[in-house]
Amino acid sequence: MRSNAFYAPETIQELIEVLELKKDNRDFYFIAGATDFAINAKKHEIMDYTAIDLTHMDELKRIEKVGDCIEIGAAVTMTRLEESNILKDHGNALAEAAGRVGSTQIRNRATIGGNIANASQCADTVPASCALGATVILLDSEGKQRELPLEEFILGIGHTQIKSNEVLVKIRIPNGRKMAYSSFSKVGSRKNVTISKINCAVRIVFEDNYVAEATMYFGSIGSKVIKAVAMEKHCIGRAWDEKLLAELLELGSLQIDQAIPTRSSRHYKRIAVKGVISDVFNDIVSQRGVI
């Protein structure tokens, strides 16, 4: 079916009604910031399609504390993520990641929901959200919601578990604990307005000056984010000092060797990884110093 329709639901009920129409049609596209869509439409010559605009859904533009969690609407822009005080306090890695996406114009439009659902291997908010233990909440055409871990939701480049009658409505992250710190860093081919060649997000919980919990993710290496399990384990019970950093740098290179043993980019990335690990390590040092 070729069409050129445009739906702009404003409430969850209206969104559910559009999902009912969408489920049997392949030419329906969710559009939020359209920063990825516009490029794809041009590249693949998508001329006639039905757009479901999510930018008029005020309900999906909020960042709020709900119980023990922080809920982020899928249509929250990178600019709002970066400026959010709630995130600065409880999900700093995500605020930092959002601030490093694209340019000012892109950050004013691009949304976290789009960044996640588009499932690019280079997405910056994905490793940051994973490090914060994020889950995604999907809404279907019957009005039912399901929640699953973000890491499981993304299957590979451009592929997610979303069904044709579902839409990503929220990202949920556990509320940060008192001694929890998180950070994000990336390397691209230039300083700003750059797509990650490698990025890294960590969340560290301290107890009496020693690491009690560590979560570390790398993005832009393979088709999915990589959980750096060996590095995480290595941190437990340790003081956050230069000795630990030196060991983490070596483990980081090892992680790259294991993840992409045959790729030519391995030689660059096994060195570049040390840069992003140093960045997040030092950022956590300075965050602890301030508080």
């Binding site: 050129n4 559009i31 516009a38 008029h56 892109i106 307005v193």
Partner: protein, 150 residues
Amino acid sequence: MIINAVINGEAVEKECNPNKRLVEFLRDDMGLVSVKEGCGEGECGSCTVLLDKEAVTSCTVLAGQINGREVTTVEGLDVMGELKPVMESFVKAGAVQCGYCTPGMIISTIALRYKNPNPTEDEIKRALEGNLCRCTGYNKIIEAVKKIER
């Protein structure tokens, strides 16, 4: 679809294909040719406009998405009297050569000043990072933004 939006300060009601890009709507349907298309991928910033007072690349917005919103281009800034001090500063600093990027640069500058009337050099650079200029080498543009008279 009939689009209802405030464009350059005036309420506009216009029939158009909602799935065409905002840059095409502004240029072809509204005759606002200060909006230039460059890369068409949100990278170069020459099509930058204000959408609800924030800078966005109009090649990555669908026309239907501006329904109920406010869009401002350089033409509108002129009518509202906001263009003159910025334009004069650009001219004085020699920040305009071929001029293709200039409308986008001006819009990004105005958006920055809405949020931050006294930006530092780093803040100026960040606000303009999404606007490419292949002539000036940027120094004169940054100078121009610094020296805008109030």
